[in-house]
């Protein structure tokens, strides 16, 4: 009988601890933003850095991956929160920032392809043997363009819906550069030409 009381007591304490330390932690926008900012600070990055191709190029991929992972965990934790306006703001902000980081990772992947072609010296024979890689670059540039468009739309939507919060989060005037359609078309055209002459 005593044992049963002890077990019941432990279960009650465990449930109480869960509510105190996990389920019970309800973020306000400011406390949530503080948490999000800490992820960026940990990697020595700022959202604005990821709108500059030069800084994306210089940023370590491992840091971006860790940042993405932290933001995803935070996004999951928000799902256990009670519905509120602050929760909605934080969810939208996290989603936007995740898009920003994903776009940076995609850019880094494309930099690798571009660097590959740079390293070949654009020799005709090498180009002919790298048509697959050129097609992959073309596809990824299209993805990067779509990702940038999507991210810009979210940044704009968040800034319009919550201008104060966007300012606090440092995303109020961010805009990613979208790849030029003309370049993509030219690349597509040239790949077709290479397929003919190689």
């Amino acid at each position: 009988m005593n044992k049963a009381y002890v077990v019941v007591g432990i279960v009650i304490i465990a449930i109480a601890l869960y509510f105190v330390f996990f389920a019970g932690q309800q973020y306000t926008f400011d406390s949530g933003l503080e948490k999000i900012d800490s992820f960026w600070q940990k990697q020595d990055l700022k959202p604005v850095d990821l709108t500059s191709p030069l800084k994306v190029y210089a940023a370590e991929e491992s840091k971006l991956v860790l940042l993405k992972s932290d933001l995803e965990s935070f996004q999951s934790s928000l799902k256990t929160q009670q519905d509120s306006e602050d929760k909605e703001k934080l969810e939208l902000l996290t989603e936007t920032q995740l898009d920003l980081v994903s776009n940076a990772l995609l850019q880094k992947e494309n930099f690798e392809s571009i660097d590959y072609f740079d390293s070949t010296g654009y020799d005709f024979d090498v180009l002919c043997s790298s048509i697959d890689k050129a097609e992959e670059l073309q596809t990824n540039l299209v993805l990067q363009k779509e990702s940038a468009e999507n991210c810009n739309a979210k940044l704009k939507a968040f800034s319009q819906a919550y201008p104060e919060e966007a300012k606090k989060a440092g995303v109020d005037s961010l805009e990613l550069e979208e790849a030029l359609d003309e370049n993509l078309l030219e690349l597509e055209d040239l790949i077709k030409s290479l397929q003919v002459v190689c």
């Binding site: 210089a58 370590e60 005709f124 790849a179 690349l187 055209d189």
Partner: protein
């Protein structure tokens, strides 16, 4: 008389309404890749000839257009080159693809500036300016010879014309011919594809920035422009019209306009090279092939193009963070020696704001050797005096009063 007027009307009409005209490109010897074509001196809308290239479906089109008399005795011809591809190979673009001739490193073009023609009712000769128009490719689809006028000059010598010809109205005998020889070198197409691919990939790379700007000669400004998406501002320092060169200073707009680097650019673009500018390398290239200013709607000025390339991440990281041994220090004012030499002399660093300063000269150590100057600090002057005393007293064996009198 009526017949003559009618004939003149027909001739004039033929200039104004006719469209493109194809002429034959004739290979001088089989397999030589050297072609020649007889173009009308006054092209219709344009006159062109097509040269087959080494890959089936691809042709080089050489086009002569916009032949105009700028003024008496000066005649300008524009020559363009295009690659033509068969429609079947293309999905998104029109049949002809205009290519800047700079994409054709293997293409040479030799315009014979001597042209003759038989005029109507009399003999008219057109002779060239005897300039060897063996062409290199310039910017803007034009062919030019560095140092030569950016146009083809021909002088008209109307010896015996039965009727006054109105040159300003462009009414000249239609049978005048310009002979153009074209040589397409081997591998030109391969080189073209390589160059095109490189250009397009480079354009698709958002790290690589390039753009054009103009330095107007009548409103020189120190601050010219900020390169988009960078912190780099291009400032004009000065223009040297003797050397045909402009000097630029690049500054960081986020760091109180701190100087990043200096870049020099010849007007005609020669010897342009990348300079280290913080996170990136920057090159400025002149776009004025004849070293003459160009005119646009805003005025007369020299055109330039900037190119920005990022450094590789390793270099970026190294530049972004100061070297370990020159970064952190604790005691403000503390000095240490052993840093890189200044003009062959040992230098020192001073702890300032938590970091070691740049390597500076150690004053009073007699190195480098002092030279009298009118722009010295008191300490430097004292040092010079000490060195001079040593020289004069020990080497020249003169007393102090004497050497003091010498150096006053």
């Amino acid at each position: 008389m009526k017949k003559l007027s009618l004939l003149l009307f027909v001739l004039l009409f033929s200039f104004t309404v006719s469209a493109d005209e194809e002429v034959n490109c004739i290979e001088s010897n089989a397999g030589s890749n050297v072609y020649s074509a007889n173009f009308p001196l006054i092209p219709k809308e344009s006159s062109y000839c097509d040269i087959p290239l080494e890959f089936e479906g691809f042709k080089l089109r050489v086009e002569l257009k916009n032949g105009v008399y700028e003024k008496k005795d000066v005649f300008t011809l524009m020559i363009n080159s295009y690659i033509i591809r068969e429609q079947a190979y293309l999905s998104t673009k029109s049949k002809t693809d205009q290519i800047d001739c700079s994409s054709w490193p293997g293409l040479t073009l030799d315009l014979e500036s001597k042209v003759t023609q038989q005029g109507m009712g009399g003999h008219t000769t057109v002779s060239g300016d005897n300039f060897p128009y063996l062409q290199d490719c310039g910017v803007g689809y034009k062919w030019y010879n560095p140092g030569a006028p950016d146009k083809i000059l021909a002088s008209l010598n109307i010896q015996r014309a039965t009727k006054q010809i109105d040159i300003d109205a462009g009414v000249v005998p239609v049978r005048a011919k310009a002979i153009i020889k074209i040589e397409v070198k081997k591998d030109a197409v391969k080189n073209y594809f390589s160059e095109q691919f490189k250009n397009i990939v480079s354009q698709a790379d958002p790290r690589n920035k390039e753009g054009e700007f103009t330095v107007y000669i009548d409103r020189e400004q120190a601050k010219l422009l900020v390169i988009p998406e960078t912190v780099i501002r291009i400032n004009l320092e000065r223009i040297d019209y003797q050397e045909n060169k402009a000097f630029f200073k690049l500054t960081n707009i986020e760091e109180n306009e701190e100087e990043l680097c200096k870049v020099e650019a010849f007007f005609d673009g020669k010897d342009a090279k990348f300079e280290n500018c913080g996170l990136a390398e920057v090159k400025i290239e002149g776009l004025n092939p004849t070293n003459k200013p160009l005119e646009d709607s805003r005025g007369v000025g020299y055109k330039f193009k900037y190119f920005v390339n990022p450094k590789d991440p390793g270099v970026v990281d190294k530049d972004a963070e100061p070297a370990e041994d020159s970064e952190v220090c604790e005691n403000k004012g503390e000095e240490r020696t052993g840093c890189e030499k200044i003009k062959g002399c040992p230098g020192k660093q001073i702890c300032k704001d938590g970091v070691w300063s740049d390597c500076i000269d150690i004053p009073g150590d007699g190195c480098p050797a002092a030279t009298p100057s009118g722009d010295l600090t008191e300490n430097q002057k004292a040092l010079n005096q000490a060195i001079l005393k040593k020289y004069y007293e020990e080497i020249f064996k003169v007393d102090s009063d004497t050497w003091s009198a010498w150096v006053k």
